[in-house]
Subunit: 433 residues, 4 copies
């Protein structure tokens, strides 16, 4: 047993609907889970605003982080049980800590807030691990260099590349857990994968994690499940609509803040967020409760744009959308200008979502980055990139998908539709109901 | 088709992990779901603080309310399909609305806040239905007397007793949905019941809902599932510990408020909550985001009791507990006074939970209240109360269970344990962890 | 590692719908599975004629035996992982072999054929293990005394009582597997139990397997699942009807055989079965294919009783039944004699099934036989029999259940019903459809 | 209600592990299920010899046929509920009967026996429906032309093309049921599909069944599940090995029969099978019990080839296989001749399986046969063939897969391997295991 492992007197378990039980055998892991920084993840949803589309998707990053840890623990324990020579057992604790803590820096409604305030959750994860926090103290207690090693795995520059590859790769515990968990909580059963079989097929090999060739079909199934979850859940146009509202709220509040507008409600750490000088301590106070409470208070702000947007978000009065095959920049400009003419806000009452904006990566193997590949380990230890072998995977890995979506406030637009040029009006399906 | 039913052009569905799909065919139901009052239920968890014990239990009353509606819709549609003469089809819409709205008045962390502020969620449900709200407008639009009829079903004084019995009985859609849903989200699979079979066995009969005798075993299984969920989930001592903290926060804040303490953070509607004069409009602003945000801000209040309790809640530093078979009042007094002597707060650092305080009702048939009974419909339309027929049910229906639990702050107590009289000290298992 | 364990070069797995994978790590287990004697279990259904009631119940004793082995392997491997001092690791292989082979001696439609021919499957299991068989050879190869030790565990007279208790007790792997498996294949979901939790709670203690006290609710749930499966599946009156037909066929064929009747079809080993002098080699040729083929051929035998019964079985023309609260011997005699008068066969056209005939043992703890008890291991290693602690279990452990059922051939009876005395006729619900 | 529908007094249900309940509301369907011809399907496994690879796959064609009926019933009842004008409700009974009976003519180990004896199960299905059988009588009773109409649907020449398309198409109830059922019983969870969603998306349109465009992802998922089941289950090389043994037994017995060999066991209808003049009545006596019993008896025949093959089948001593990328005819001939030289039977001790022999049709849309296409119904009733729209489906629909497999008796070959030319010997991986 590596000497930084300090077993608990008795294994602790968490009941988990996805993995049945999450097992904690190590004192450091147990202490990390009980830090305020890790507990904060209970107040951040795993899927941001997706609960407005799939009402079951109310699960938190806390649950997901436990799941990623559990999968990693199972992989490692299988590596150990089989005495695979290529796995460095002295890295067990680093790997489990990195798995547990990899999402520690996520903020509320992560993707939207990061975009609005130019933040990066990975940076914050490292700042929390390395800063004056309980997480840092717990890690240091296990071993003085542990915080830096864990942060280094998360930054992907850790010297033992196999640990980085275990934590971040197309088949990593993070992706496996969220696929299973998001499928479970949304109820969209496309995400069900045979995780036991995939885990049994993983092998540490020559500085990275590879898959036994006989596991190819299980990997195909896993990538197809990812593909389905992308189109059924992650890129659902209704979810995109709620994200647009969220971004508009942040944008509007930022404009007002810079204009010196007197908010009726603006507790710390919001001013620091707008000033872009959040300390770690302040960052840790940011959670989805604060954001929702703020929106609730702002729903009565005098600024009509801000209050309307907050009502839209809280009461789920989202923008409608229309799908268009193609739209040129000229038409977009025409829409904006004619919207302005009839008294709509072109900046807020119209948004366009291009498929190329989607963070689409069901699977994109890349020659120059072996970490983004899935390698199959065949007979005589022959390694082959999976899309060379699997037609299915080759066919999805290059796929460009998605349509342009135009978002707009249906009722507001309906009131003025008759005043719009017919070319513009005809783009938007305004009808009763 | 009853004339208050206004079908949607096309059925709408919600993807639901428990019922697969929730189907909405009626325009009034669809509009009710889209009111701000109903959307607010997304910000209130179904199981209060249980997520601190079972991390999956993050589901909202919104999901549950949709589920109760869906089960009710299925029951009614089966009654209609079979043309059972005892079911009044003209009550379909009232029943579905009551099912959907029955939890509308729940506040944040419902049971704890009701206890602390002497509120009653059923009263608030009726106030919202009858008040100046979108819910009221939608109901009135369907039929002017609909708000009053729905409220009356919820108050259980509706003239058509069978509708009340459908909505509130030991086998109602509410109980069936929460059993399935809480089991699903906690991952505790004891709650799995054969709901299809139970639904097929329900019959409207002579002013109430009864069960075909051949469904007896399915009902036994359902009551056993309830029994297991009570002891595994609802009365879990760790959940009780978090509820104690919550109540203490409300109690402390109330004391401070009455003393005129100057809170650094006390947005509306909190002052009105403390003053006990909440309007409906204010009540609708109360949600769990506000409570959690308030606790976050209060965690830095100068009052040490309040700030410590808020930290405990947010960072899940709950009180430990010890189970005792019996404890007399004298000993309780001794604990309190010796705690005070060593500098602990007897009012906050010690709580006792008696099993008789538990709202325990797996099943308690009562002769004088036929609504609390489950009746089996046998051959020749003979009705029998189920515990007459089932030994299993008879044996659990009278059962008194549970132990006394003493709750205390482990670390604080450990620091002073050596100063306590040994009789008192020996009660609390203080060990190095 | 005990020195009779001979690990395979690479673990083998069987895909199993109940346990996901069955893992074989030991060469002896692998070889046992591949013997003709063990493969024969593929041709014997786990639930006899139950498939005539629940069409999914077509699973074999082969599947079940693998499942029992797998559960036992998991229990043992957990005992080993935790280094529990009370578990004798040198017994691992004996325990796993006994688990795998415990049903080896089951004949076709086991319960009915045993009753008809006074056989005992446990005797046959031991004869096969100790006889001139491949199973015997494989066991001897691992260790010369292994056949005798395995047989001794099955006979329950093995000197290490804890091994016997692991294999045969109210919480043994056999019962756990069949509960889960029969629930899965029938589709009756009452049998779902939290097996992971139960397994985690088992402890080897002082010569037997006990349960940690905190696992009490899981055991309650398990016993309730047993209770439900008994009444929903195992004692289903339609299954009893098919068993009655089966017994009648064996009875009639025996009568004919003893009378010297010339069967058109009677391949070995059937004559030896009738003569009651089956060798092990012959016994191993008995399977359900042979029985069904024989019935198919006999369905054209000249003897009308035999051919009709065989048609009934093959074409599922079972006897109907009526449930009666009580029936006295005098009435039974009257039924028989009046049946004879109208030309029915009182021996074949009427059967009665008393609940006391049912092999009912959801749970029957017995002071004098500690092996039939479930002991809870509490604090300070205090042992308590579970029904002392659990009200639920106490209430079901004494329960006497079931009704008298009268079985009869509906169409034949309908033809003569008008000739029967009205008192007798009124017992049988003869109506169209 | 069409006038050939005769509702049962009370709906009957079958408990089904895949669809939960199978509902029978019509008297004709109920009577058909109770015919000897339909009950015979209980003695024919759905997946032939697959149970030798996946031990759970012991389910019968009886279960599957009920499942196909149930899915068809649900589709039809949804068509009726929505009053889709393109569905001819007067065809409901024909469609349900065809669904229920479509597999009626399957023989034991269907694919192998059909190949060996040049039979066709569809022909036999029609012969049974049109012949002197109870099925025919039940159908005629409902309506005199019903047998011919049902047979015509099965022959795919029924005049109402939409009924044929409902029963036989890439998205038919047959394929949906076996995918779900085979996944359930093997435990291979790749086959799980969202059948509720697919059913909700089906529309009768202009003489065929099409899919609403928004159901495209569900269809993609369904075809991927098919793809996975083909490669994980249906074409599993171990299953192919058992089919090879089976075919060899039939081949050898045929050779012997034609040579006038005196079998010790050859009950009817086996002689007629060999003579190729089976009557319907005889055909109905063919089931898997008979085949297995015959093999058991033949395992002691003097002919060494026959007895060895029967032992192999019964005791699961299958041929091993080796996968080769390519093999030319010359090499095949060399293998055969050198096998003969060392005393092996080139006709029995070596078989080769080419992927092109596989009945592979995950999906193969064909312009000239619209019945083999899946059409999507988009806005303005625009129809598009699915592989035009879905990249995924386009990529799998043309896919050619599979490898050449060489099968051989491992132990027999091992004994003579040293005598083979090294070029030939090196092809076969003979190792100590």
């Amino acid at each position: 047993m590596p000497n930084d492992i300090k077993p608990l007197r008795e294994e602790k378990v968490f009941k988990d609907p996805v993995h049945n039980y999450v097992h904690v055998q190590d004192r450091t892991i147990w202490s990390l889970i009980n830090t305020p920084e890790f507990q904060r993840l209970r107040r951040i949803r795993q899927l941001g605003t997706t609960y407005l589309t799939f009402h079951g998707a109310e699960h938190s990053r806390f649950s997901h982080s436990l799941g990623v840890y559990e999968i990693t623990r199972r992989i490692i324990s299988q590596f150990e049980r089989n005495n695979y020579p290529d796995w460095p057992v002295e890295e067990n604790l680093v790997a489990m800590c990195a798995a547990l803590l990899h999402d520690l820096g996520h903020g509320p409604f992560s993707h939207s807030i990061e975009e609005a305030f130019h933040m990066d959750h990975e940076d914050w994860t490292c700042k929390i691990i390395l800063g004056d926090t309980d997480v840092n103290r717990v890690l240091r207690e296990a071993s003085p260099d542990l915080p830096e090693r864990v942060a280094s795995v998360i930054r992907k520059d850790y010297e033992k590349k196999i640990v980085v590859n275990l934590i971040t790769s197309p088949l990593d515990a993070d992706r496996m857990d969220y696929l299973l968990r998001d499928a479970y909580f949304t109820g969209v059963n496309y995400g069900t994968i045979d995780i036991d079989r995939i885990l049994r097929m993983l092998r540490p090999y020559n500085g990275r994690i590879v898959v036994k060739e006989s596991g190819m079909h299980a990997v195909e199934d896993y990538l197809m499940a990812r593909y389905q979850m992308y189109w059924q859940v992650y890129f659902h146009p209704v979810t995109r609509s709620s994200e647009i509202i969220l971004r508009q709220i942040f944008r509007r509040a930022g404009e007002l803040y810079r204009e010196g507008y007197a908010f009726g409600f603006l507790p710390q750490p919001l001013p620091s967020l707008f000033e872009d000088d959040l300390t770690v301590k302040q960052y840790l106070k940011l959670d989805e409760s604060l954001i929702q409470t703020t929106f609730m208070q702002w729903s009565e702000e005098p600024d009509p744009i801000l209050s309307e947007l907050c009502c839209r978000f809280l009461h789920r009065r989202l923008y409608k959308y229309v799908e268009v095959d193609y739209i040129d920049n000229e038409t977009i400009e025409e829409i904006r200008s004619s919207f302005a003419e009839v008294g709509l806000h072109p900046e807020y009452d119209f948004e366009i979502d291009f498929p190329t904006d989607l963070p689409y990566d069901v699977f994109r193997p890349n020659d120059s980055n072996r970490g983004s590949q899935i390698l199959l380990l065949g007979k005589q230890d022959k390694l082959r990139e999976i899309s060379e072998v699997s037609d299915i995977i080759r066919s999805i890995s290059g796929l460009q998908r998605g349509k342009n979506h135009l978002y707009y406030p249906h009722h507001k637009l309906a009131e003025v539709i008759s005043k719009l040029p017919s070319k513009i009006a005809s783009i938007f399906p305004i009808s009763p109901d």
